[in-house]
Symmetry: C2
Subunit: 578 residues, 2 copies
């Protein structure tokens, strides 16, 4: 490519609505252009990166035996009603009516359509397994679109759907996709981590997220540096800390004026926060025969721990929908204002759910169910009944034991760009997608689904790879692998000639090269390519040429390297194919 | 590709809603699957064809200097309101509201968005010319979607937009695109014709349509076999026939009971239809100061000619909106029921517009403005005033003189798959997309737009290329170039071995080959590939192999050819690269 025939448009300053570095740099590098809230035109420079990401995804999906098709963007509401997602998805699902008043969804994913396709195509177990994928525009009507391509409304996603005859087959298909994703993210040249994710109703480890590691990531990734354990915060199991020590302190009701938070209580009493227990009041409502029954739950967590709401949702009685109790409910049930609740002497009917760590505590501090008072020296069994339920309720923290017993946990930040998920028969049952098994009996298809946020990969790659000059693309997804920067092409015949020769040789060698023939002065030219993030640069200048040398500089190099003219193509091939 | 790892699904019968051959064959060959009215999933076999079409389009667009980007599907209403198309487009424009109630269009084309992109990017004439294109999903809410991909609602289109500093530059960009389209359609391997099209307000020859020639085409293409004149029916000029002969007959009012059509009158009077003149009554309405003024027009056409409504719309006074007069208006203005109107003795205020051919007629038959009566022997000037306006009002017919004076016109049927259009400054003016010219003065950008209906190409290609066995794809856009059909692969080691060898050699030679390893019996296998339309087939059988021969058959060949095993790769390369 010649820069003069391409479209390059860089900005000194990012627009004020760009909050994060990837958004700022993509705007400045002229990769995207905002058309509306969360809606972008992918400009020529950005589209090249998207196409490279897509090509890697496509190659590895094909290699893994998945078959490409293309499902429509505008999908009939009827299909979405069959699975109930038409109602469940809420405002994120963009809905549209045609001229006849028929309703459609603009697809955020395609489980319904692929299941509809497959239920009419698959008759027999002999046709299985199958895995279909497409790379398609998606729309999700985010409440607050932001961060450029990281949380846009219109975006590109690769979604794949596997169909198997039984659970074992589905798990095999899942593993094949897991391995393909590992190859894909490796080929992107990004540091990433696959973490076990919560799988909702299906349970088990039937779901993994692929995260690009970046300190600016929205998600906390939990892993064990000494083993292969890795999970996201929702799914990472928090083991109980130690065993319960015998009681040594007396129970004492202590005045803690205005200290409604554990931090304040610990400070006031001069004790460690880890000696306190906090109470979270939850309520569920169930309707039967037109009558609403409420149930109340008291969740207990160590003062320095955080509630994990997904885990709370798995506690018997809390599955389905729970909510935080209202202040009025708390006064009714506990006879006390919030901030001083505790498991000792609770008045109303409350199910006490202790986090595993809390269940192992002794001599702890907890609310006295009386405003401005706490108990110190509280002990299970002695001062109150054992908890009704003991469960994992909290987020893990750094230093927790790894659930696999092979070390302690560390936490890093990540950006989710891929997700593999064992769907089981949820969709095939609601949509009656069955096949005839070996005995000629109809059975529901076992499904898996597998997504990669293609456009999101760009944002994540930049969040991981940038410096104060701009983007630093990994070679495999860079808009160009190599830029040639001739110095004074219009003044020097030699520079012009050698630039053209090198350009032709690089093309011949299969290198994705752009020659900057715009005639800019060196400073502006270099600044553009550093901002855009092309990973390899060769400067062609009169002085160097006279000595038979060209200047190579990698985007992360602090200095240029002189390379003999005769070796340059092999040299750059080595760099690019590294 | 191995058939066992691909998805092949053929049908003996097409679904009943498939009306035309391309729709039927695409459904039967498992290329598309209906999801909703005018909405399809492109199945793996169909998607391969789409990708080949896209690749050819992309290569030739790039070669022509156009730059690829990707504009969003969901586009803010505000942009469409700037050009007035939000209101003008009517129900075909699919509209959607987001969660905040903001309105968006699902793009049918992208003039507004590209003009918005360019108006903020282009500052100076130095940045021009530019041509941006994308290949993107489109939506058009057709009133009656049908014919599969020929008139779907969701479809894929390549649309390009050129930007120039002046008219000459724009016309050059237009020619570059015209030439690129010619290469594209040639590479598709389709018989096609570029025809001048009506250009609406801009006029001139600033618009051409590219049609795939097919007897089932919806459009009539007019061309001169002896010259390069070609136009669509709307744009093809009808020259006047001969010159007006002197009057020889007397004017006579003749009883023509119940003969309200020229055909009936000619039959009744025993004369040729070309001696009759038919009358078409039109009315326009104009509102000023709350008062509606009507104007009435009498259009006169030779009895055997057809009105061309686009041409009628160019008659002074009829530009803008005209309509056919109501029966009530006809009674009021002409004092007569429809069917017997004519230019002699018209009562009301009527503008008489004669087609050029009618203006040259003499001794003709026309309505007497009295029920069940016609005049015979009517002559201009003698029996009535000369027409107020003489204009080209009619469709040309075969045998008409070519407007370039180089022969007579022929007509064939075509399917429109491409359109190039000189937009001028219509969009840049309404959206204030200006640049600074050489004198530093702002000037509106001169635009052109260029579309190819990517998915429609599939339908058109099939309408042109099929037989009673199925589709006959041109090699360049076939889902596979070559199919290998081994006979009894499971029984014969030799067949298996030679098939694998040939498969590897074909891949190595860069041939897009599929090997049918499904283990079907020959009849079913051949029927599938003939239906799917793969253009080249090699049968590998024990008997042939023992004689060192393979059987080649082109999709249009009536018989197979034996090719020596040693020559087969070169032979097939020759066929595929033909």
């Amino acid at each position: 490519m010649r820069a003069s025939r391409f479209f390059i448009s860089t900005l000194k300053e990012a627009p004020s609505d760009a909050e994060i570095v990837s958004h700022k740099l993509m705007m400045r590098a002229g990769m995207i252009k905002r058309i509306g809230s969360g809606i972008y035109t992918y400009m020529p420079m950005g589209l090249r990166v998207i196409r490279k990401v897509e090509a890697i995804v496509r190659e590895e999906m094909n290699r893994a035996g998945a078959i490409e098709l293309l499902m429509p963007l505008v999908q009939p509401a009827e299909l979405w009603q069959e699975t109930g997602r038409w109602d469940k998805m809420g405002a994120e699902l963009m809905r549209v009516k045609d001229r006849h008043g028929r309703e459609f969804a603009i697809q955020p994913t395609s489980e319904e359509v692929i299941t509809d396709v497959v239920r009419s195509e698959i008759k027999s177990y002999r046709q299985l397994p199958l895995n279909f994928y497409h790379i398609q525009t998606k729309f999700r009507d985010e409440r607050r679109p932001r961060f450029g391509l990281m949380r846009g409304r219109e975006f590109t996603m690769k979604d794949a759907y596997s169909f198997d005859r039984d659970l074992a087959g589905m798990q095999h298909s899942y593993q094949v996709m897991f391995d393909a994703y590992t190859r894909i993210f490796t080929r992107f040249g990004l540091r990433f981590r696959a973490v076990a994710a919560d799988n909702g109703a299906i349970g088990g480890t039937g779901s993994h997220e692929f995260h690009v590691i970046a300190s600016t990531g929205e998600d906390a990734l939990v892993y064990c540096p000494d083993s292969d354990y890795a999970a996201n915060m929702e799914a990472a199991e928090a083991l109980p800390t130690g065993t319960r020590a015998p009681a040594t302190a007396e129970l004492a009701k202590t005045s803690t004026p205005d200290a409604s938070k554990c931090e304040d209580v610990a400070k006031l009493l001069g004790i460690d926060l880890s000696k306190t227990v906090k109470t979270i009041a939850l309520t569920t409502e169930q309707e039967a025969d037109g009558k609403v029954t409420k149930q109340h739950f008291m969740l207990l967590l160590r003062g320095d721990h955080e509630l994990n709401e997904v885990k709370a949702g798995k506690v018997p009685g809390l599955t389905g929908t729970y909510r935080f109790s209202t202040e009025e409910e708390i006064r009714d049930v506990y006879g006390c204002v919030p901030g001083y609740l505790g498991p000792i002497g609770t008045k109303g009917a409350v199910t006490v759910v202790a986090d595993r760590t809390v269940a192992n505590m002794s001599d702890f501090v907890t609310g006295a169910n009386e405003a401005h008072f706490h108990y110190t020296g509280a002990n299970w069994g002695r001062d109150m009944a054992e908890p009704h339920i003991t469960a994992d309720l909290r987020n893990v923290v750094e230093g927790d034991q790894s659930p696999d017993g092979k070390g302690v946990l560390a936490i890093e930040r990540g950006i989710e760009v891929g997700h593999v998920f064992q769907l089981g028969t949820a969709y095939s049952e609601s949509m009656k997608a069955t096949f005839l098994d070996e005995n000629g009996k109809p059975a529901p298809l076992q499904m898996g689904c597998y997504g990669i946020g293609v456009t999101r990969v760009l944002g994540a790659a930049i969040e991981q790879n940038f410096d104060d000059k701009g983007i630093v693309w990994p070679t495999s997804i860079a808009p160009f692998e190599l830029v040639l920067c001739p110095m004074g092409m219009d003044r020097s015949e030699l520079v012009k000639e050698e630039t053209e020769k090198l350009y032709a040789a690089a093309l011949e060698a299969g290198i994705d090269v752009i020659v900057d023939d715009r005639g800019l002065r060196p400073g502006a030219m270099f600044a553009d390519w550093e901002l855009i993030g092309v990973p390899h640069r060769i400067v062609i200048g009169d002085r160097g040429l006279k000595e038979g040398q060209l200047e190579y500089q990698g985007r992360r190099d602090t200095e240029a390297t002189n390379v003999p003219l005769a070796d340059i193509v092999e040299f750059i091939k080595g760099k690019v194919r590294q």
